[in-house]
Amino acid sequence: MSDHSERLWQIFTDSFLPLLHAGVAFTVPLTLISFVLGLLLALVTALVRLSDIPVLSWIARFYVWIIRGTPLIVQLFIIFYGLPSLGILINAFPAAVIGFTLSVGAYGSEIIRAAIISIPRGQWEAAYSLGQTRLQALRRIILPQAARVSVPPLSNSFISLVKDTSLAATVTVIELFAKGQQIVAATYEPMLIYCEVALIYLILCTVLAVLQRRLERYYERFDVR
């Protein structure tokens, strides 16, 4: 092996663990926390929008409109760099979590809302005719079916989120991509390192896609017409 390729291999192996560590310590938690919180927010937003409670549903629509109509990176900058000028200081990691949660909440609420609407009216009526309340019908009959309908689109959001968390680098979270940038600054090997970063994202997403497949198969045990 030539000196040059030996050096590249050395850099590759030296940087693999630090990069993987940044992925596991920051990218993965950032993704998981934001996604779980975002789903809760999405569910509440979807239900509020479907409820037709005047002021609340107006707020929900306004929120979705803002988040969907502005770039995620701008939202992150407002939260991390903008809010301090109003005296609201949020650390980098929680700021990123807030930004991603709001994003998942807005896009996810549209997915969940569409899924709930897609469940035939007869399902509500069958639940009511058994004497269930609106809340019981929603929780036991409608949401389980809506969950199945929304698993594929929500999984897509989830995998997008894994990659979108690289934007956290712009608000000083040293996650996988930011770690890559640091290593590039030290080694001057952008091609090698960014490909390595890409490889680790690929590994993370592939593992998640396998989990997604399992979840879908679990939901396929029944058939929603």
């Binding site: 069958a126 005719s129 004497g131 269930q132 309340t133 019981q136 045990r221 058939d223 929603v224």
Partner: protein
């Protein structure tokens, strides 16, 4: 006292009056069959009895629950639930819960609305499934069952909340002809057991057989009412004659 008393029931959708003052009385243990042309308001009437539609005016009393409806005034949700639980509805398109097995479908109402312990609910559900001949399919999901089997689960589910009254809205009209019989057989047995039932159907032979009384609805009013022999044999109203000749003709 009659088990079901309906007085002056009306239902209007927007500008369209679909039910124009329905009066009904039904004794415990008797079977009422409703016939009438498409769009005459038969489904709407059943749905009002189950409060899936809120009547515009009139009163409904079933068992010891009752509501007086008056356009605009809100009905209390607790009253709605109470009235609803008096009747079990069998839908034309079954509307089984696809994410639950046959057994779970029949347990669901017992657990959530009657708050029965799971074990007791399971036992009763199994008995109901046996009654409709499906004890061996308890663990099947609806999509694994034929239309006739699904509708029989639908009947077991409707009975699961121990209703005073069973409502059937064209229970066989979504079924292939060869599956109609098994469902009618179950309904016939329920009639013989002395269940109180209201059945909307286009199966005239079946109507004649199970009904204690038949009413013909057209354009939201009861045109004629009587025992099957009289209504089929010597109808009093011209409109009844027309309807019967049209439906027997095809």
């Amino acid at each position: 006292m009659a088990m079901i008393e309906v007085r002056g029931l009306t239902k209007t959708f927007g500008e369209v009056a679909v039910l124009k003052g329905i009066d009904l009385t039904l004794e415990r243990g008797s079977v009422l069959v409703i016939i009438g042309p498409s769009g005459s308001g038969k489904s709407t009437l059943l749905r009002c009895l189950n409060v899936l539609e809120t009547p515009s005016s009139g009163t409904i009393a079933i068992g010891n629950a009752g509501i007086a409806f008056a356009g605009g005034t809100r009905v209390r949700q607790a009253d709605v639930l109470q009235l609803r639980r008096q009747s079990g509805m069998v839908f034309q398109a079954y509307h089984l819960f696809p994410h639950m097995t046959a057994l779970q479908n029949v347990m669901e109402g017992q657990i959530t609305s009657l708050r029965r312990p799971k074990e007791e609910a399971r036992e009763r559900a199994m008995r109901l499934l046996a009654k409709v001949g499906l004890e061996t399919r308890a663990d099947s999901y609806p999509h694994q069952l034929s239309g006739g089997q699904q509708q029989r689960v639908g009947i077991a589910r409707a009975m699961s909340i121990d209703p005073q009254l069973l409502l059937f809205d064209e229970p066989t009209s979504a079924l292939d002809p060869e599956l109609v019989r098994e469902v009618l057989k179950v309904i016939r047995e329920l009639a013989q057991e002395g269940r109180t039932m209201i059945v909307v159907t286009h199966e005239m032979k079946f109507a004649r057989e199970v009904a204690d009384r038949i009413i013909l609805i057209d354009e939201g009013v009861i045109v004629e009412e009587g025992p099957p022999e009289q209504l089929f044999g010597s109808p009093k109203q011209e409109r009844t004659r027309q309807f019967l000749s049209r439906i027997m003709g095809d």
